[in-house]
């Protein structure tokens, strides 16, 4: 930043150039101003929520009655909410594991081999991510209940989320495999390594970070999904459906506390992840929805 403002000193020549420099400056600062305003827009509702989570009067600022930790204590003592949270963690872990296994295998097929209808398969593989949650949720509910006669519950949510998480793994791992130099594998084989050793010592170390990122994405998508789970959960509650009823029936204090807690956790995880690997590289192009 400093170097660019220094450049403005060098303007003693023509009036026209001076005007141009001025314009450049105005443009640059307005760019910063817009960016700043956007960050405020992104953050203000979350900040308001976090502040309210510590406020005695949890639904509005005024009249202000002081700060308390009581909402957090009450939230973590809420057994129904905690069991819903535990359900969400289990579902996210199992479904992301399934999605990762399917996704990694499929990525190798896409990146390494040619087969008929490859493009159709690829498009189809991305579909679960693109199709709106309402549509996928309802389609699977009708399918499970009416066609298969399965009672919706834990298993149906896991199955639904395993399909939903699949494209995230597929996208991230395939793009890693495309940039992977296959001659490294050939070199290892030429030097006498058998295919399994090549996979373990050459391919795996390169692909593993992408697999990890894919798993993380599938996990988060499952954990935060409301609408798909809402349709196929039966009578079981997951975190998001519990939170949804909390908002519907107006229990703001606990909702603020659990939401703020999630923001804290994610802030820490993201800060760590960003310093370990290149998160942004993986984010572009992966999409989620309500």
């Amino acid at each position: 930043m400093a170097t660019e403002t220094d450049g403005a000193v060098d303007t003693g020549t023509l009036g026209a150039i001076f005007g141009d420099e001025q314009k450049e400056k105005i443009l640059k600062y307005s760019l910063y101003a817009i960016a700043g305003a956007l960050l405020v827009f992104l953050w203000i509702p979350l900040v308001v929520m976090v502040v309210l989570s510590f406020a005695v009067n949890a639904s509005t600022f005024f009249p202000f009655r002081g700060f308390t930790l009581a909402h957090y204590t009450a939230t973590f003592a809420d057994e129904a909410l905690m069991s819903a949270l535990w359900n969400s963690v289990q579902i996210a872990t199992i479904s992301a594991t399934i999605a990762t296994i399917l996704g990694v295998l499929a990525s190798f097929a896409l990146a390494r081999y040619d087969f008929p209808y490859k493009e159709v398969y690829r498009t189809f593989g991305i579909l679960p991510m693109v199709i709106p949650g309402v549509v996928l949720g309802i389609a699977l509910l009708i399918y499970f209940r009416t066609l298969l006669g399965v009672t919706p519950g834990f298993v149906t949510v896991v199955l639904t989320h395993s399909v939903y998480g699949f494209p995230f793994v597929l996208l991230i791992v395939t793009s890693r495999l495309y940039t992977f130099d296959e001659s490294l594998e050939e070199a290892a084989r030429d030097l006498g390594a058998d295919p399994l050793t090549v996979f373990r010592d050459v391919t795996l170390p390169v692909v593993l970070p992408a697999v990890g990122a894919g798993f993380l994405f599938a996990w988060i998508r499952s954990f935060e999904d409301f609408i798909r789970a809402f349709f196929v959960r039966g009578t079981m509650d997951v975190l998001t459906t519990s939170m949804f009823s909390m908002i519907k029936y107006g229990t703001a204090p606990k909702m603020n506390a659990i939401s703020s807690f999630i923001v804290f956790v994610i802030a820490v995880v993201l800060a760590v992840a960003m310093n370990v690997g290149n998160v942004t590289e993986y984010v572009a192009g992966t999409e989620g929805d309500s």
């Binding site: 308001v48 309802i138 309500s290």
Partner: protein
Amino acid sequence: MSSETGLTIRQRLLRTFSVQSRKLGLTLSPSIVWLLLLLLAPLTFMVTMSFMNVNDAYQIIWEPTLDNYGQLFAGDGPFWETSFFQSLLLSYEIALVTTILSLVLAFPLAYLLARRGGTTFKVVIFLVLLPFFTMYLVRAYSWFLMFGPSGAINSTLIKLGLVSEPVAAFNFGKTAIIVGLTHAYFPYMLLSLYASLDGLDFSLVEAARDLGASRAETLKDVILPLVMPGIISGSLFVFVPSLGAFITPRFLGQGRVLMIGQLIEERINSLYAIDYGSAASMFIVVSIALAFAVAFRYVSIEDLGGV
């Protein structure tokens, strides 16, 4: 690994997968089975259901009919006055405005990110990504606290003495939904734009300026065509989920605004009207298929997902 059994398993594995077709079968078949059973079959069944009727005992009557589609547009008045058509139109409007708003807001920030590296980049991207990674439900809820007659915006304005009555613009309704959706999906636009701006050769911009093009001309003739794939894929990723939005209109519309997702959910959950719901869902599915078909004329699927 040196034990007898270890070697034989290893050798057997190697022999089994030395053939290309077997490798392909192993890598491809699990996901194909999964996608056929849990994506193609349900969607096909849903399309079929949209042409079938369900009786009062929730049994399917296997006779093809267009009744469900007729019902969507049936009412006292002409079809454009039916609640389904109204909410379809409203959903398009909201999704479209959200997309345009996201584009206008994201462009300057994406441009800034592409031209700035180092700490500025890291801090800004962290500040953008954190709300993005925060649960969707939490973000929709955080806006729910802001809006409404006694929400954070109105109560602060009143407390500051700027207004005496709650301002209607900050009540629940269409504006609130658009703000909530923009907040939710804006990062997709930002990241898509950033991805294409990051690959942009800025010496082209300088060359255009040196050759006498004005800023507006440079933007229109040099920058925009080069980032078009980013704009198209970003728009798609904002438009599509906005069209099928459910939580945001539910919280921020407070019953005043009925988007198509809510309309379908109500019928399915209260009446288990899977025939009506399937037919209504087809309008979302077809709209999205059309949006993608248009987008694919300008960008490849690789640009959309990085595959």
